[in-house]
């Protein structure tokens, strides 16, 4: 019986060992990593998320998008992420400094979204948001065979009063005199998704993360 304190102490030390070794050492090692200030552009990377995007990140979180979509681009063999155009380069730890809540994801039931804003249909033009609204409202109308849920509850049908909304979805089945428009949550979510892009190539990261020899494992 008097060995119970010993077991407790040992159990405490065993778990402390892993905590110090994995969590604490990494926190000390790069927990205070700072954004990179680019002198030529006079801008810090990664930049802060704009307010609307930050709210969209919360919608992304409450809808549980992370269970089907990763946000990490992997390089090296055997990953085909770069060939799939999921990013111009693999993700660096520094890319995630702007995320209050990092959602790397664990399963690719859907495609990776880390650079969705860079590759979305008609990215960069106002039509990108319209395409994404339609995708969220009815995924299989955009991608046949998609198993993504239809987020119809992010949209609402309302009477047109005055001018029709520029954001109204061009879908069939909306009664005459009414329009299907995105709710505020849909607007923030779409802003967040279209803002997802890690296109800035950090000079320091490129040097640190590029394997010196061709025969590399592709791990950073």
């Amino acid at each position: 019986m008097n060995r119970a304190p010993l077991i407790f102490l040992g159990a405490f030390l065993a778990l402390s060992f892993s905590w110090a070794g994995l969590v604490l050492s990494n926190q000390v090692g790069y927990g205070t990593l700072a954004p990179h200030f680019d002198d030529t552009e006079n801008k810090a990377y990664p930049g802060q998320l704009p307010g609307l995007s930050a709210r969209g990140a919360l919608v992304y979180q409450d809808l549980g998008c992370v269970y089907c979509h990763t946000q990490q681009v992997r390089g090296g063999e055997p990953s085909a992420d770069l060939a799939r155009k999921w990013g111009e380069r693999e993700s660096y730890a520094r890319d995630y400094l702007r995320d209050t809540h990092v959602q790397l994801g664990e399963n690719r039931i859907g495609p990776d979204l880390r650079n969705f804003g860079a590759r979305a249909p008609s990215a960069g033009s106002p039509a990108a948001a319209a395409a994404l609204y339609q995708h969220l409202d009815n995924p299989s109308s955009v991608v046949p065979g998609s198993t993504m849920p239809a987020y119809t509850f992010l949209f609402t049908t309302r009477k047109i009063s005055g001018d029709p909304s520029p954001e109204a979805l061009a879908v069939p089945g909306v009664p005459a005199g009414s329009e299907l428009v995105p709710t505020e949550r849909a607007v923030t979510l779409v802003t967040y998704l279209l803002g997802l892009k890690d296109t800035y190539d950090y000079p320091v990261e490129r040097r640190l993360n590029t394997p010196p020899a061709p025969k590399a494992e592709g791990k950073k």
Partner: protein
């Protein structure tokens, strides 16, 4: 069960069982309710993966809500209630201590379950943290920690009141697990939810927690039960018992480190991934000892497998423990990790430990301990068989289909010639098979729950009980056999 001497301690263990009866039954009743709830949510989530229109348009039942709700109902509803119930019973049995009046324990159990219920409803309502195994919103965390502390304190109280001069290895695992869970949970909550660390350190904390919860809580309790029941039912002492403490310490040290092997390829430092990989290999040390301890003991009394349903559940748990540790080692190999990471293969590994090791061991334990607590036999012996076979078949079908589906998914993803729509399409048959597995498991759970309810409240059984002697089929070798090697 083999021919065994009459129990010299039967009066005493009767007294212990009487003191445990109400709290353990309350914990198990909540556990089983959650198991049914988690099964329903899990089957809904599984169907949605291949038929997204099923219950579509309902915000709180979208996949991103119902899946984490199922996970949390399973882990914190079923897993924690059942784990604490068996921890309490095992500790009382092995320490030979009675439970002091358990009123506060029952209040704490109710509080824990209110906390989990608020947490699961919070996830469905959209307050999820979206961190796997930590989704329950921050407002239930203090609730859960206080309730947990109150329940765990009773297990320690039982140990202190115990008269046994020994501390068996099962108790080591229970003691350590009781302590590890609040340590892991509070550290992870602090670093991820209340004061989140920056950048991908969050992913490391989350991986450390996930694996700690699975390996150090569910795995440890599963091992505690396996170490207790195999010698108990077989009626032979543990082979090489002196090695089991070494296995315990090696398991304790390396398990939490293996968590980061699930971050292979993620944007975290390469040395961290290597450390996780190394730890996965080091787990082969305790695994080897555990195999010697358990399977040599089991080989001494294989005949008991034919008659004892308890031993069948426990043996499945032991075999799955070995397979899933070996699976962890294979997955840590970089060539495999590149394919299996971020697929169903990796996800299935978590279910294997939680369901195949922990839950199977708990099922076995409940079939053993409940008749002793209520002093009457299970009303439907056939339903135990049904539960066993449904659990085993469901487990095998589920794990095999998700693993094969995961390999397919991983190979497809690694080939950029295959469009993503085809990746999805190729995975569908495997996901349909997994749904069938989920339904089979759920049917097994219904059989289990029905038998449990009948055992506890059936009036005609109650009439015959009272001071009746323990049914002959329930007599077993005395607990000392577990440690005669010491």
């Amino acid at each position: 069960m083999s021919a065994a001497p009459a129990q010299p301690t039967s009066a005493e263990s009767g007294e212990i069982d009487a003191s445990l009866k109400v709290p353990v039954i309350v914990l198990l009743a909540f556990a089983i309710l959650w198991l049914l709830g988690a099964s329903a949510l899990g089957v809904i989530a599984a169907i949605k993966l291949h038929t997204p229109a099923f219950l579509g348009g309902c915000e709180f039942l979208t996949y991103g809500r119902v899946y984490p709700a199922a996970l949390n109902a399973l882990a914190y509803g079923w897993g924690m209630n059942a784990g604490l119930a068996v921890a309490l019973w095992l500790m009382a049995r092995l320490a030979r201590g009675t439970l002091p009046s358990g009123g506060l324990l029952i209040v704490a159990t109710v509080f824990w379950n209110i906390g989990v219920k608020l947490g699961v409803l919070g996830i469905l309502a959209g307050d999820s943290n979206s961190i796997t195994w930590l989704e329950m919103p921050a407002y239930v965390v203090p609730f859960l920690l206080v309730a947990y502390a109150l329940i765990a304190a009773w297990v320690l109280a039982v140990l202190r009141r115990g008269t046994s001069p020994y501390l068996y290895v099962s108790q080591w695992y229970v003691l350590a697990a009781l302590f590890w869970f609040p340590w892991l949970y509070s550290a992870a909550q602090l670093m991820l939810v209340f004061r989140p660390v920056h950048g991908t350190v969050q992913a490391i904390v989350a991986a450390w927690y996930s694996h700690g919860l699975l390996g150090l809580w569910f795995g440890s309790l599963g091992l505690a039960l396996i170490y207790y029941f195999i010698p108990k039912v077989v009626g032979k002492p543990i082979r090489g018992y002196y090695l089991s403490s070494l296995a315990f310490w090696a398991y304790a040290i390396f398990t939490a480190w293996t968590g980061v092997s699930r971050l292979a390829g993620a944007p975290v430092p390469a040395w961290t991934q290597t450390a996780g990989r190394t730890a996965s290999f080091m787990l082969l040390v305790p695994l080897g000892i555990i195999v010697v301890n358990l399977f040599l003991t089991l080989a001494d009394g294989l005949g008991a497998l034919a008659t004892s349903m308890v031993l069948r559940f426990i043996t499945v748990a032991a075999v799955v423990f070995v397979l899933c540790t070996v699976r962890g080692v294979i997955l840590a190999l970089p060539s495999w990790a590149g394919i299996t990471q971020l697929t169903w293969f990796a996800t299935a590994s978590d279910y294997v430990l939680l369901y195949g090791v922990f839950s199977m061991a708990v099922f076995g334990a409940v079939y053993y301990l409940m008749p002793r607590l209520v002093r009457r036999a299970w009303p439907f012996a056939g339903l135990i068989q049904v539960h066993f076979w449904f659990a085993l078949i469901g487990l095998v079908v589920g794990v095999v289909s998700l693993s094969l589906g995961g390999l397919q998914q991983g190979r497809d993803l690694a080939n950029d010639k295959i469009a993503f729509a085809d990746v999805t399409a190729h995975a569908l048959p495997y996901l349909q098979a997994a749904t069938i597995a989920g339904i089979i498991l759920t049917l097994g759970h219904l059989a289990f729950a029905f038998n449990f309810v009948k055992l506890v409240i059936c009036p005609q059984h109650r009439a015959a009980s009272a001071a009746a002697p323990l049914p002959a089929a329930l007599t077993v070798p005395p607990p000392e056999l577990q440690a005669t090697a010491r």
